[in-house]
Symmetry: C2
Subunit: 124 residues, 2 copies
């Protein structure tokens, strides 16, 4: 069992630079808590079996949907994208600090194998 | 399907006053995202089958464990308490704003049926 101790979210964000690469900071009930730094564009994708939670700690996350909507997710806000819903996260040139909460099985580019796809996520 | 729209966490906290009563703000993968206002003492309890995540948005959450340790969880910090581990959340007289992430099956007083136990949680 991992030691029960507090995890400081902003401290963890300062431990990596690589964009669009989720880093695991916690695990519970078959789910991971992950941090990701986002900037500019990402690929359209969906997750067949996993709902996905985005929580923004800095900046504004923009989430495109296939119906043409773009949802703004600001600091202190959560967005839950249900399984099967195609989405494309991006930012307006700024680096956005984003926390993810989703099943351990979730691939960050979902059903798409893109250049940015990371196969093995690491803990920080 | 619920509409996909941002959830502002501090706005949601402003929508209720009752202490030690979790309010549901989101649902994904069989888990709930809940908000709870904490002040002073709570009961010792554990959850047989559920790990529990605490994320503090204001104040300092104090978590007692049976080994005599008290862990401080400050604003911007997460604490994950594994299933089966007895714990007692409390605060030092201040109201603490706490977000919970845990399976829908989680009873907030765990294996204990206390005066503070809420049987039916509501959405805000």
């Amino acid at each position: 069992m991992k030691e029960i101790k507090p995890i400081n979210i902003l401290e963890k964000f300062s431990m990596f630079e690589k964009l669009w690469t989720p880093h695991i900071i916690g695990e519970l009930n078959g789910q991971y808590v992950k941090l990701c730094k986002l900037k500019n564009d990402f690929v359209w994708h969906s997750h067949d079996n996993e709902d996905e939670l985005f929580m923004v700690f800095k900046g504004t996350l923009l989430m495109d949907f296939r119906d043409g909507r773009t949802v703004e997710v600001k600091e202190g806000e959560i967005l839950i994208v249900p399984k099967g819903v195609e989405h494309r996260p991006h930012t307006n040139g700024e680096i956005v600090l984003n926390l993810l909460f989703e099943p351990k099985t979730t691939a960050h580019t979902g059903n798409v194998d893109a250049e940015v796809t990371v196969k093995e996520l690491g803990w920080i």
